[in-house]
């Protein structure tokens, strides 16, 4: 999280740390992302967090044995106090495109249910009647993560280093939803390789300074429903341009969760 603030314990009780340690690779691949707890057994995240790291275009999930989920975690250096769970099933969206990041959404089913408490609670999904609308332009949302808080280091550093550029404490930042057309043209003007699809929305500031970054992937972009006062996961941290996180005129791109309510419902029903 760039330009964010330290979260207090219990601010984001649905926030999950998704640790991946791919032992099948030499040298071992390790990375992490975030997820959002949906119920006592299901965690929502981005597909690219759980995709086995390959150079080709195949989409194969990492082995479920290599994934650990931490819930109720505040300080990543103190995982002992968190609730950890192994994974029973990994479900990547069948149409996830690793080139364009279209359909960057995935589900994790926990082997054992978690018990809710002040530090472990699920986030809400958008209502069906919000499905078509999605997050409104200029609406402020919150996003949290343990990702890079400084744009100048690599993921490898973040995993292995105790550098202060990686926040141990969960960070969060407020970001406004950006007009879809503006974000789309912003990226397309830089390269034709970028395609901000209707399954995505953008958030951030034109002037930069506040943004999500590496390691925040899969975390929920939440917006408070004014009628219920409940926090709803409208987006999942997905991707951004090659420029540094928080750069001027570079918006973060988020998976639009409201487009996947049917998919989520079907998968949860199928594998429950």
């Amino acid at each position: 999280i760039i330009g964010g603030r330290n979260a207090e314990p219990g601010f984001f009780p649905w926030q999950a740390l998704v640790m991946v340690e791919d032992m099948s690779r030499v040298p071992e691949d390790k990375w992490f992302g975030s997820g959002a707890l949906l119920s006592d057994s299901w965690v929502l995240t981005a597909a690219h967090v759980l995709r086995s790291q390959r150079r080709d275009n195949t989409v194969i999930p990492v082995s479920k044995e290599h994934v650990t989920i931490y819930l109720g975690l505040h300080d990543v250096t103190n995982k002992m106090d968190a609730t950890n769970r192994t994974v029973e099933r990994i479900i990547l969206h069948e149409d996830f495109d690793p080139k364009s990041y279209n359909n960057d959404i995935a589900l994790l089913k926990l082997k054992d249910k978690v018990t809710m408490g002040p530090y472990v609670m699920p986030v809400c999904l958008p209502h069906f009647h919000h499905e078509l609308a999605g997050p409104q332009t200029n609406t402020l949302g919150l996003v949290a993560g343990w990702g890079l808080s400084s744009p100048n280091i690599t993921m490898e550093d973040a995993v292995s280093s105790s550098s202060r550029t990686v926040s141990d404490i969960l960070q969060y930042v407020k970001l406004p939803v950006v007009l879809h057309a503006e974000c789309k043209s912003s990226y397309s003007s830089r390269s034709q390789n970028y395609n901000v699809t209707d399954n995505m929305f953008c958030a951030g500031y034109y002037e930069g300074g506040k943004d999500t970054c590496l390691g925040d992937s899969g975390g929920a972009f939440i917006i408070q429903d004014p009628s219920t006062q409940r926090w709803v996961a409208q987006g999942l941290v997905s991707w951004g341009g090659p420029e540094e996180c928080g750069s001027k005129q570079v918006y973060g791109v988020y998976t639009k969760v409201s487009n996947y309510l049917d998919w989520l419902g079907d998968k949860v029903e199928e594998f429950s």
Partner: protein, 430 residues
Amino acid sequence: DAILLTGMFGEIHSPNFPESYPSDSDIFWNVSVPNGFRIKLYFMHFDLESSYLCEYDYVKVEVEGQVLATFCGREDTDTEQTPGQQQILSPGNTLNMAFKSDFSNEERFTGFDAHYTAVDVDECTEKNDEELACDHYCHNYIGGYYCSCRFGYILHSDNRTCKVECSDNLFIERTGIISSPDFPNPYPKSSDCLFRIELEEGFAIVLEFEESFDVEDHPEVSCPYDYLKIKAGRREFGPLCGDRSPGQIETGSNSVQILFHSDNSGENGGWKLSYTATGNSCPVPLPPSNGKIEPVIDKYTFKDQVLISCNTGYILLKEELEIEFLQIACQRDGTWSNSVPPCKIVDCRSPPELEHGFVTFHTRNNLTTYGSSFEYSCQEPYYQMVPSINNTYTCGERSLWMNEELGAKLPSCQPVCGKPARSLPGVIKR
């Protein structure tokens, strides 16, 4: 020494005919034709000495000693008779003829020339005697006749009367109606009908004859012709006959045989009865406390059944088992198949626990009996009840905890989403 004539036709004439017959003749002819025929005799020529009452010469026609005719002379007078054109028909199939001439003839008499033929008897029109006539249909043929019966009847071995086959009638229902064949029309002749009523042990059969009762009888001898005999175990009733109904007969047995015999004559209307079976009676059962017994009648007899049930909120307790209904039956020995069990108040027992939920009883002693209630609640604020319902469950009559909205189904405690215990900083739309 008689001359035997057995042909179907023949000629009989006086000695020396057509010459004058000799004196002192005494000749006999025995004419015989087969059964079913009669003998027709007539004279073509007749010329005998005349005498007062045919004392001298005569021709005499007899059947079994009975004189049918005596002829003499040449013409009819007051005291003597010639056959003329007269034909003699024998009543049976035999006929005897005698010719006699005395010691002298004053003139020359040429005698007689007679012929006979066998004539078929139409038994169907002639046999009016009930004892001989065909019962239903009669068919004549030359030399005899035969009888036949209407459909459904069998010709008796007497070849005359028509009987029915009615020896295998079995009744196994608790009530029924039995009658003589063809009732109320006259019953068949020469028949032996057997009606059996076989019920389970424990029943006693009662016969009730209808008023209309007509079985051939005799004013002096007891039921010599047609009769009913009833066997019931070791008891016997009858023979019954006449025109007075026997009314009701309580046989006292579960097995009754009714034998109906008819002889080969008579036209009588027969009989009809209805039977019922009554069983041993059982004591009137007392309903359990907080329960009832149905149906309620004054007397319960063998095979009667009653249904025992409890009032709402109670259940029968039979040998540690809780049951809603119990059906008991009155047995042949006058006892009930089961005793009446007590009614116990329904107990829904401890309600199932909800994961992440609590149970709060509405009664001090945490009663779980009929009508008591409790509430489910969830571990707030982290769990909420799904579906959101009036969370009171009441112990119902079927031993189930029932909710107004969900019935016997249970709610669940689902995690509350999107409401962190620690409030996030608010956001304002830009």
